[in-house]
Structures are given as C-alpha cells and as structure tokens.
C-alpha cells in the first residue's frame, strides 16, 4: 500500500515536471535578453546598446533619455526592488530591522547562557578541515551579495543570512568554538546606530529622514545610487550579527 502511494505521488510529480517542459521555451527562442532591466542587470548599459534596443522595438532613437536618463537621475539603482526597499520605503526597512532585533533580544533573554552546549562526539575529520577552508569564502560570498545589492537581486537580508549560515557551520564543525556575545552585540548595535545616523544626516542635508544625499552616479557601476549600498552594508552586517547571536543563544546552556 505504501508503495502504491509512493508511485501515485511520484506520478503527480512527473505530471508537474512535464507541464514545466511546455513552459520553458526552446533553446534560442527566448526574448528576455532584449529587456531593459536585463541589460541593467548585465551591466551593459552603453548607449549603443540602448539604441540597438530602441531600433529593434521600432522606436525613435531620440527617446533614449526617456529610457535611460530618468532612472539614472532619480536613484541610480539597477534593481527596482532595492530602490523601493532602501530608498523610497527605507523607514519601513528600519522597522523591519528593529523587529528582527527584538526577536533576537527575546531569544537571548530566554535562552542565553554563558557556556557552550557540547555534542559529545567529535565531528568528522573531513568535515572539520573542509569547514576551515570554506568558512572565510562563505563570508566573502555573503559580503559580495550585500555589497552588490543595488545591482543584482539580493541585498542585506540574504547576505546576512549567509553570514549566519557560516556561523552555524562553525558551530557544527568545531566543539570549542564560541562566539562571544559582546562582539556580536557591539557589531549589531553599532550598525543599527550607523543606519539611524545615515538617516539623520539625510535629515540635516536634504530636509527629510533618510534622504539620498550622495550623487547617484551611472547605473550599473558599483559606486552608484548614493547611500543605498552603504545602507545595505549596514543592514547586512546587522542581520548577520543578529542571526549569529541567535544561533549562539540556541547553542548555549545555563551555568
């Protein structure tokens, strides 16, 4: 009976995969690469490319400012979601970071101890050594994700989560490793404070909270879109420190 159920569910899975085959277009038949946002994402925003795109759509090449110029003027983000999350609705993001901070604080109050919980078994040798190689590279990858948050999908929250994943890997691989609570607390507190200070600087310079006061630059470069990458760096470090502290709390015991 169990096998029958298994085969039935697998047949449903087959049907799902086959229906997916119809959705995927054939090789070379896709038109996505001529979309504007795609050329922003691939950092190929030269004017010649824009002209080619407009010619292909049958539009006049005079409207090139309409496609590229305005976006460049306003916020300079290639990624629309980032420009909404960190530029237009940045106060909302500050609130979200505060919610996460409160959750981490609650877990720390309830579960926080000063000693590390031991598994009682040494981890596998292969796992120990490979973790020692992997962890710095994983943290670098997390930094890559949140520094490039305004160019590619990603940003502070996924980057911070990847940093916390590296911390979890360290806890699993090393019996002695214990992240000191002072360092994570100091990092998260200072990053949250810097976020608010960036907002207050915007208030002082531009007249309202979290004003984008730096020049926006050219879309597609790394140094563009004003304070957005800086704020995303703050958010990424803060979320990474918070989630690492949460993992530390879950790994510690009283006494």
């Amino acid at each position: 009976m169990r096998r029958l159920y298994a085969i039935l569910i697998a047949a449903g899975f087959v049907y799902m995969m086959l229906s997916f085959l119809g959705v995927v277009p054939g090789y070379g038949n896709i038109d996505l690469c001529s979309r504007v946002s795609s050329s922003f994402l691939l950092k190929d925003v030269s004017e010649q490319n824009a002209k080619n795109w407009l010619m292909a759509k049958g539009l006049e090449t005079k409207s090139i400012e309409k496609v590229y110029g305005e976006k460049n003027k306003e916020d300079g983000c290639a990624n629309v979601v980032t420009s909404i999350v960190v530029n237009y609705r940045s106060f909302d993001t500050l609130g979200e970071v505060t919610v996460l901070f409160t959750a981490a604080l609650g877990v720390g109050l309830i579960l926080g101890g000063t000693r590390r919980k031991k598994y009682g078994l040494l981890p596998n040798f292969v796992f120990r050594e490979s973790t020692r190689i992997l962890v710095p590279l994983i943290i670098l990858f997390g930094a890559y994700i949140f520094v490039h948050g305004h160019l590619t999908p990603g940003g502070g929250f996924p980057g911070g989560t990847i940093i916390a994943a590296a911390a979890l890997l360290l806890y699993l691989a090393d019996e002695e490793f214990f992240l000191s609570k002072v360092s994570t607390g100091a990092l998260e507190g200072s990053m949250g404070g810097l976020y608010v200070i960036a907002g207050l600087l915007g208030l002082a310079i531009g007249g309202y909270f979290l004003y984008n006061f730096l020049p926006t630059g050219r879309v597609g470069n790394l140094i563009s879109s004003g304070i957005v990458p800086i704020v995303y760096t703050f958010i990424g470090l803060k979320v990474g420190a918070e989630l690492s502290g949460l993992i530390t709390d879950l790994h510690s015991e009283e006494g």
């Binding site: 050594e129 490979s130 973790t131 190689i133 962890v135 670098l140 990858f141 890559y144 470069n221 790394l222």
Partner: protein, 155 residues
C-alpha cells in the same frame, strides 16, 4: 595573509573587473582576513605557484580519469540486473601529515571507484568499500594512486 589573497582572487572572479570593484574587494578581503586571523585552514607559502602548477597538471588529470572510471563502474553495477556487491568497512593507513593533503586524499577516495570515506583518525581512514577483494593489499588498491601525488604536491 593567505586568506587575504584567496579572498581577493575569489572576489575578482565573482565580479566583473573595474577599479572600484578592486578597491571594495581589497577592503572586504582585509576585513575577512582580520576576522579569521587564527581560525582558518588556508595556509601557503612562497612555493604556491609551483604547487598550483603541479596540482593542475599532475593531480587533476589523474583525478578526472579516476572519476570517469568510477562512474563507469557505478553504471555497470547499477545497470547489471544481478547487482554484484561485496561491501565492507576497511581501515586504511596513510602517511600524509598536513591536513589539507589529507582532506584532498579523503575527497579523492570518496570520488573514486567503489569507496566512501567515513572517518579520519590520526594515521588512518575508515572506508566503506563496495567490493572487498583482499584485505592485505588494500592500501595499494584504494589510496596508492593518490598518496604519492598529493605528497609531492603539498609537502
């Protein structure tokens, strides 16, 4: 220092090259190397280029040939209707000392025909072997091909 160089190379591979990327990459790599001043397993010295050349031109071809042989082996076993298996857990001694060389040896053992590393102790690996032929010559049959090469590359 070695962490810094590795991190910077990985950063430049991940991004398209420009000067601002280079500057930010240097900053991030300094931060990562500062955090992992003590806890890391990436260490190398001035002989790195020789080792890299040796690694690419001596180790990798042997490794890839062994991997393709492993897969043909697995395919033959899986597609055979009689399923010829004779599994067992064996202990294999090794002479390698540096952790990196032993890590690569363990991974090579896992990816070559019919063997899977379970655990490494001070001087030995415990291995699940899918087809135990003999118990005397097991070192030569399992790890002999790689051990000399890795000793030359890493030590």
């Amino acid at each position: 220092m070695s962490v810094f160089i590795t991190a910077l190379v990985l950063w430049l591979l991940l991004t398209n090259f420009s000067y601002s990327e280079l500057i930010v990459g240097i900053l991030v790599s300094i931060a990562v190397a500062g955090v992992f001043k003590e806890y890391h397993g990436i260490k190398f010295d001035g002989k790195l280029p020789i080792r890299l050349v040796l690694y690419i031109f001596v180790y990798l071809p042997v490794f890839i040939v062994e991997m393709i042989k492993a897969n043909i082996d697995v395919a033959a076993r899986v597609l055979n209707p009689k399923l010829p298996l004779n599994p067992g857990f064996v202990k294999v001694k090794t002479a390698l000392k540096s952790p990196m060389a032993r890590l690569f040896l363990a991974n090579s053992i896992t990816l070559t025909p019919g063997t899977l590393t379970l655990e490494g102790k001070e001087d030995a690996f415990y291995i699940h072997w899918i087809d135990v032929k003999t118990l005397e010559k097991k070192e030569e049959a399992i790890s002999g091909r790689f051990e000399g090469i890795l000793k030359g590359v890493f030590e």
